[in-house]
Structures are given as C-alpha cells and as structure tokens.
Symmetry: C2
Subunit: 643 residues, 2 copies
Amino acid sequence: MTAHEIHGPVVPTEQARSVFRPLPASAVRLAPDGLLGRWQARNADATLPHCVEQLGTYGNLANLRRVTGDAEGEFAGMWFADTDVHKTLEAAFWELGRSGTASPFVTDTAGLLEKAQDPDGYLDSYFQAGHRDKQWTELHTSHEMYTAGHLIQAAVAAARSAPQHPAAQQVLAVARRFADLLVQRYGRSAEVDGHPEIETALAELYRVTGHRPYLDLAARFVDNRGHGVLGEGRFGPRYLQDHEPVRQATEVTGHVVRQLYLLAGAVDVAVETGDTELLAAAERLWDSALDSRTYLTGGQGSRHRDEAFGDPYELPPDRSYAETCAAIGNFQLAWRLLLATGKVKYADEMERVLYNGIAGSTALDGTAFFYSNPLHLRTGHDGSHEDAPSQRLAWYSCACCPPNLARLMASLHTYAVTGDADGLQLHLYGSATVTAGGRTVQVATAYPWDGRITVSISDSGTEPWTLALRVPGWCTGSGLTVNGEAVPAEAPDGYLRVTRAWHGGDRVELDLPMPARLVTAHPHVDAVRGAAALVRGPLVYCVEQADLPTAGPLAGAVLEDLELDPAAPPAVAPSDGGLTPVALRVPVRVRADTSPAPLYRDVTGPPPRPAATATVTAVPYFLWANREPGAMRVWIPLAAPEA
Amino acid sequence: MTAHEIHGPVVPTEQARSVFRPLPASAVRLAPDGLLGRWQARNADATLPHCVEQLGTYGNLANLRRVTGDAEGEFAGMWFADTDVHKTLEAAFWELGRSGTASPFVTDTAGLLEKAQDPDGYLDSYFQAGHRDKQWTELHTSHEMYTAGHLIQAAVAAARSAPQHPAAQQVLAVARRFADLLVQRYGRSAEVDGHPEIETALAELYRVTGHRPYLDLAARFVDNRGHGVLGEGRFGPRYLQDHEPVRQATEVTGHVVRQLYLLAGAVDVAVETGDTELLAAAERLWDSALDSRTYLTGGQGSRHRDEAFGDPYELPPDRSYAETCAAIGNFQLAWRLLLATGKVKYADEMERVLYNGIAGSTALDGTAFFYSNPLHLRTGHDGSHEDAPSQRLAWYSCACCPPNLARLMASLHTYAVTGDADGLQLHLYGSATVTAGGRTVQVATAYPWDGRITVSISDSGTEPWTLALRVPGWCTGSGLTVNGEAVPAEAPDGYLRVTRAWHGGDRVELDLPMPARLVTAHPHVDAVRGAAALVRGPLVYCVEQADLPTAGPLAGAVLEDLELDPAAPPAVAPSDGGLTPVALRVPVRVRADTSPAPLYRDVTGPPPRPAATATVTAVPYFLWANREPGAMRVWIPLAAPEA
C-alpha cells in the first residue's frame, strides 16, 4: 500500500487467490442519506461511543489497569473481557480511517495495552493479574489465543486505517510482540485454542506485515484442529471445533461462532497458500450451513444451551439462538468466499444477513442490542432473562456482540464494491461515491425500499472497463438501461456486466422489481410447517403485536390467532411517516377464540375455523422491538383454503 | 399405623384434607405378568442393583467415606452427589417393604450416613470435606436443603417400609437430627434453598413422626419463596422459584423440576394445614402446565439451557427437554392432587406420563436411561453429547434421573388403588391383587395392550361398598358388566361406581375401547402444526427409522419424508413376537426426493408432491431406541388432501 492509502478488513496479498479484489477503504464513501450510510453514521455517533462508555462502566479497562498497577479490586466480567476492549479498539481504528476522527479512547487504550504487556509479549489481563498459575494451561477454555486474535485484529485495523498514527504503530507493535510469542511457543506445537479467532487474525497480520511465520502459524492452527487435543470439555469436541479436521469435514456443527471464525481463518490461509483443498472444504461447509441450518434472516444457530448449529433443518423460530456474532461471522465468511471465488451466492448471503440478522440486532438509536435474534416472540414470553430478552439491552455480561457490531459497521463501506483493472463490481447497493483507479461513479438509490439503482459515471479513464452489477437471487425480471437505452440484462453468474469506454455523465439504471412475496420452507423444517413468511427485496418482514388494531375484528386477538390468506397477496404500502418507509398490508383470517381449546384433540374433531378477516401491517424484521414490548412473528400460519 | 403395617410415599394424616386415601403399601401386589408388575420387577432385579453399582463406580459412596476418614482423593461428581445415594436408599427401602429383601447396601449406607453425620446433625459430604467455609453460605446454589430433603425422604421410606429394621431406625434418626438442625437454624428465617425438595420432605417427616415443627418449617419454606431472597443467579429468579409467592402465581415457570417439587411440597402443606388458598394455587399452576406446557407424553420442559418450562405452547418435539425427573415430578404432584381433590384429571395425567414420559426413559433391560426425552430424533442428529444422546446411557454426570426412577418404580404399586371405608377406587390398571379393609379383589387385564379389565371379588365384608373404576379421558364408549350383566356406565366425574354388597365370586368387567387414533395439537403449538400423532389407549406411538423397509417405495426414505394419509386410518396390528405386543400399521405417503430442494422458496412455486404410498409400522413411544440407533418421530406431517 502507498503511504496514505488506507484499507479495510480482509486484504488478500497480490499473490493470493482472489477472483474479486477489495478496493481501498478510502475508495467508497457511503452517502449519509442512504440506509447503509445511516447505519454507519449511527455507529460512529452512537454505538461506538456507547461501547467505549460501557468498557469503563463494566470494568474492562480497569481489568487492564489492574495489570499496570493503576487500578485495584476484583477482575470484572468474563475471563475474556479484554476482547471487548480489542474489538472496540478495532472499530475505533476503522472509524479513524473512515472519518479521520481519533477519539481519546484510541490513544489511551494503545498506551494502556503497551504498558500492560508482559516483556515476553503476553497480554491477557485475566491471567496476568490473579491467574498467573493458569497461564497457557487451559487452552480448551482459556480463550487466550482468542483474546490475542482480537488484539491482533485491532492492530490490523490500526495498520490499515492509520499507518502513520502513533497509537496505531503502538498497537501494531504490541500485537506483533504477542504474535511473535505465539510463533515461538506454538510454531511446532499440536495445541490449539478452544475458541478459533487467532487463525484469521494471524493471516491478516501476515498480510499487513509480510511476515510469513504468522501465516504458517495460522495454517498450523487450522490443521491442528480435529484431533481431539482439547478433550471433551463441557459440551464435547464439536463445540470446541476439535471433532474432525476442517479439510475432511462435510457439515458445519457445534458452536456457531467458533465454526464460522475457524472457516474465516481457513479461507484466509487457503487463498494465501493456494490450498485448494482447504478452500473447497470451506465452501462445502458453508453450503451445508446454507442448505439446512440457516434462518430466513441469515441467522445461524438454533440452540441456546451450547450456542450450536443444531441438527439439519432444526430451525425453530421462537428458540432461534441466531447470535448476533454468528450473523457477523456469516457475513465475514461470505465476504472471504466471495473474494476468493467470485460466486454471487456469497454476496447474496451478505445482503440477506446484513439487512435482517445483523441489522435487527441494533435498536433504532444504536445503543441497545439483541444477543440472540429470535424470529418469533410468543405472547406470554418470559423475557425477563438476559438469554432471551423481549427487548434489546444496553450491554451483556458476555458483551461480545455490541463491539462486534461496531467494528463491522465502521468498516461497512469496504464490503460494498470490489474493483480491479477490469472494472468495478457492485455487491451491496446503497447511495455512495466510489473512486478507484481513476474512475469515479455515483450510486444513487433508495435501496432496500426501492429497487431502482442509478450509477452515474462522473470520471473515467479512456480505456473500456466493465461495470458489474449484482442481481440478487431473490429478484426476477431485472431491467438495465444505459443512458436510457435498454441493454440485454442476462446475468448467468448473477452479475450484469456492461463493458465500454465510459464517459463522464454516462448513466446506468438497474431496476430490481420488489413485489411483496410469501416464502415457505423446505418440508423438513418442521418448526414452520404450514406457515409462510413475508419478504420484499432483501428484507424479511414481521408482524408485531403493536400493529394489531385493538378494535374491529382483531380486538383481543393475539398474534398466534392470525392466519395468512393464501389467496390474497400482501400489498406494498408506502410510509405513513412511522417506523418504516415501506410497510406491507397483509390480509389475514383471525381464528375463532382458541384459548379454551384443549392442548391435544382428535384429528377427527371439528377444526377451529377462522371467524373473521382483517388486514394487518407487517414491518421490516430489522425494525422490530422498537415500540412497546410485545409478541412478534416472522412465520405466520397459512389458512386452509376455504371449503 | 400398626406395628407391621407398611406404607408408601405420601400418606396424609387423618386430619388432612384428602378425598381419596392411599391404601397401605402391603394392600396391593402387582402381578408379575402385567406391564406395571414387570416394570416393578425389572426395577428390583436390574435398575436398583445397577444404581447401587454406579454409586460405587462414580464415587458417590466414597464422597461420604471421605468425611468419615475411610476414603481419600477428590470429591467426585456434582456437589449434590449425596442425593443419588439418598434416592437409591429410598428406593431400596421401598423395595424392602415390597419384597422383604434388604440388600447389604441398605445396612452399609445407613451406617455410613450415621458415621458421616456431624454432631449437630449436618450431613453433606461436599461441604463437610473440602468446603466447610461455604457451609450454609450459598443457599441459592448449594443444594444443601435439597440434599437434606432427599435424605429425609429416604428416612420416610425407611420408617414406612421397615419400621422395625435397625437400618431404618438408624436412617430415621439421622434424618431427624438433620431436620431438627434445620428447624433450629431456619425456623424463624426468611431464607430458602435454591432447589425445592425440603418442603415435601419435611411435611412427610411430620406425617411419619407427628412432630409439628417439621410441618411448620415446610410451610415456612413454601411461603419464603417469591420474595427475591435468592438473588438473580445465573438464570434469574424464575429458575430458582423465587420470582413470585406460590400462592399468588398463576403460571408455572422456570426450572421444571424445581417448580414441580415445590408444588408437591405446597400440596402436602396445604392438605395438612387446611390451607385452601395454597391448594387452589397448586391446582391453578398445574392447570397452566397442562393447558399449554405439557408434551403429549406428559413430559414437561422445552428448554435445555435452563431446564425450563418455556413459553406457553412452546413445545418443540425435537428439542423437548422433558427431563425424566420432571416426568416423575409431574406424576408425584398429580398423585398428591388426586388424593386431595379426587379429580380424575390428575389420575389421567399420572397414567399418561407413566406410560410415556416416564416409561420411555428406561431401556428394555432396565440399566440405561434417557435424561432428556425428545419426541423427535432427527435424521442426522448429533447424538454424541450427553445432553441429547441418541441412545440411553448407563449413567450421567448429573445422575438425578436413574435413582429417581428406582424410587418411583419400587413404590409403583402404591399409586394404583386408593380405598377407605366406602370402598376401593382403581386409578391405574394392571393385573394385581388388592387386599384392604377385609376386602380382596383380583384385577386381571392385559392393559395397556387391551382395554378389558376384570375385577373379581374374592373376599368382602357383608356391608355394601363401592367399587370405583376410572374411565380415562381418552376413552369413549366404555362398557361395564357385573356378573355378565350390563350396568349403566356413566361416569360424570370420570369414575364408574358400582355400590352393592359384594360376594366372593362377583365379577366386574370394564371395557375401554382402544382404537388407534390420530391427535393434533392446539393451533398455537407452532412446532407441530400440520402434523398428527398416533395414540392408542394411554400409549403414544412413534415411528422409528428401524421400521422403515429398505426396499419398495420406502427405499432410501428418511422419516422426514413421510406424511400421514388423513383419509386412511392406522390399523391395530397384533404382535409378531417382536418389540411390542401391539403395533400400529400406518398408511403413509412418501414425499418425492426432497434433499436437493432449496431451504426457502416462494409459496407460489410448485409444492413437492407425494410420490408413493406405503404402510409403515409404529411402535409405542416408551419402547423407542431399543434397536439400532436412528431417527424417531411422534408427530408426523399430515399430507394435504389429494387434488
């Protein structure tokens, strides 16, 4: 990179296998009036400062000051609480690169980390102050390398976002010392950490530094897994991703975030080393997740107990765990696979999980978050417990998700477009300015509320180049015009491509029709049998109790009493200035009073019959739980056809 | 009680409110050729000796010997591992009462407990050896009174089963010393244990001893709950049953076993003190469980993470937790409510959970057990983990269930019949001899395989008395004859009653028709929408992969591909000498190959169509997983009517 060029997460080296190439982070600026740009601005204005504040309130920074002798008292929070600091620092560095704004948190934390680090490079406040005897002795549960990995990722963000900034150089030096310690200690070891993360971190650090031993250690850690070195633990080897070597595995399993982070590392290693077997394994495992273990929102993980994927087709909407960090992991893995392979399905998944599973985790004001993201909140739900709250919380005792959101959103612009000498490829649509390789284009769109995307060329070289526009998998009937003239719009690989010598003022219009649709699930998904979900464009919709009229045929009804009328399609309703720019108006039947019915009855008995018809409002899933608390559902039973 | 009269669990005092009165334990002998009798014999021959052996293998007895200085090493197992000893001892005492057989385990353990007890009465090997500093300091999690409760229940079994036996007297003395310590320490306290159990134990100890302070303390502990004295803990106050006073609560919630054990204690207290408000609360809470939070098998608890009831209508068959101990707790609570109120619904529930949720936990040979009892095991299930194994295991790291089964089965005969001066009431049907109050009757039946029950009077006083026979809620069209003549068979309260002066040789025949039936669930139970379950009499049936033909139209099919044909009822098939005396033959349609189908698709697309019809075998749920491991399901999708 040049002295002043800044970059985002995941920058394969020039030697790496990479069908698409990320643009420099400075190449894309999201417009503040588009949804993506507003999310990113909210992150800078609200989420990131909120995270910094919570790190003080919850003692994460004090934990590190205990090591330096500047604080006393007990260690606070989870034993891997340092990672919340590291992830927030990573977010702050991406934000520094994006906006040029460095908060005092960046400088203070860089100094604190340097001061807290052991002379040999070790840095983990839980073990340094109070648990020295356990250092490196309990890798199955200690999270020491997981913590090191997040430190390294903060340093990667520092080096890519602000290479000249003293705090960035300080953090990079700290991270390298820790990484060097890992190389020295584990470079010939069969051991591995119980929670993957170090793999992708070391590969990225290699990309930043060119220091090959980091990549070699990442590769070693990927292949050390699956040989049972971590023991049974509380939840068995699958939980620890130690049940089977990655390159032999055929199905995702166990703890979702661990599986996804491991695969992210595996892809990073594979593309840098040309390991096609390993890349194929990652693709195969991703497919197994998407084929049978992914919610309609892109969320993954159906089990609260061990945060696991669950069995194939085990996708209960009410007990979806769908951890926010898993959605982020899904996005980050899909991005790596998109770069490596150029396959549009990965960009489709990035879009789906971003607009639903990820976006739904954060409150409108950016300072409250879901950890678990259900697709159905029952009437009568006991939401008093942190594991399944009815409303977003400001923080969690295990606060992995909020700073994970902050680092993703601070770097969101880097995932929208790729580019190389041949042209630009637009993957995520949002109003933005893209400047790269002497080309400048403006993207103008009200996406995802409207499917019209206008790309205006304001600057271009003289050589022809190709503008590639993703046609999402959910779309049929897309249309494309260049300067008002229709061009053949075929996208056999999912990208519409127009190649020409572009001129300033050229204007490309892509139209992606967005009717409201009803979707249903594979018949093996027992949990939503006989039900359908409302979608429009990339957005999953839901019905909330807050939108049920309290008078008329729905008076006294609960969400569980509604059935979709399969013969009456939902209608798209423009904003009334409320929660959402686009709602859906959904014809429903209201079941006759069901509450006194027995829990089980003979099939031959008279079935409950719909008593009335009505129309209810559905809102985007990502906006749910921003009004009074109440029931919500994505999947709604389909009424039987009228006899 | 007279010197040689022996009794079973739950014997209300004469002053207690009790519509039905338990018979002495010696009044009922189950015939060894009936199913109930065979279960009880298997318990004596296999399960109980197995439990005793495991207590040695897993170190539970050694934990107590560490206290007496007769063993060294680390404490083994859960911190409440003593309860496994106490429950096994309780089972051994019931068995001693039933059969007159006292194993060396009884004598040895009685001596060990006496030797291990502190001078002040305290007895808990975890705290006595290694955690003295924590004694009585962490009631929210320590289980100290839970452990005391199980010790007391063993003593109650001892006193009722073998009042003259030295070991019984020894255990009773040990338990009283501990109970006296509790009275002294907590008799004026607002504190309470995190895990209910002590309440019912103290009430029962009061019944055995007549010592009123035990009952008063039980009552105090019931009312101490719900005031937040236990704090948040890991899973919140509901988990700890400390969220709301019992007598104000309207819905069961939180940890199922804790809720059920607490309610058992509440009923015991209520009937002994005449506390109608408390009894009404217990009835109300039981109703809330049965109305919306109970599986078709009588199992309860849909959440693995915190072993909780879950929300109303949250009843996923694949992730049913349905802990064996919860099913036993359901049975024990229903028995208490049946005695207190005489309402048949409680006996119906005892039958349902006994034949399904409880019986299904135990392997055919009586030495392997499910902890969690799913109603659906998916194809591709990861059963490698102890929390959700594909097959029953010989023991568990938390081994509460197997000895709980042992104590229930050893006392099973005491739950079948009640009686008083007015007559006998038959609740659970099995071949048996009943002798009470100068009356002797023989019950002969192949129940639950056949619905004909013959009651022969072989001895009777001269006074008229009433024979009451339960007509199960699942039954329609029951018929009754006395000495071959039909008598009006109306049972408005669920019991057919015949009052007369009986003579030796009189013969009553009750006929309970048992067609195979399809049942469906309340429409709010999303998890089984569009599916039905097969039942016959009290038995729930299931289909196992082991019964799918590997040739013909079902070749290559998995259970998830089957749909029930709603127009073709299942047929009852007599035994072929295999797993079950009565199987069901079930017409099904086999969905066309579904595996390549996308996980989500537009409703408007062509639905997968059934490709073939076939007939499969269904077996009683309680017999599942006794052949090669494989998928199982109780709820099977109903095919759409043919177009």
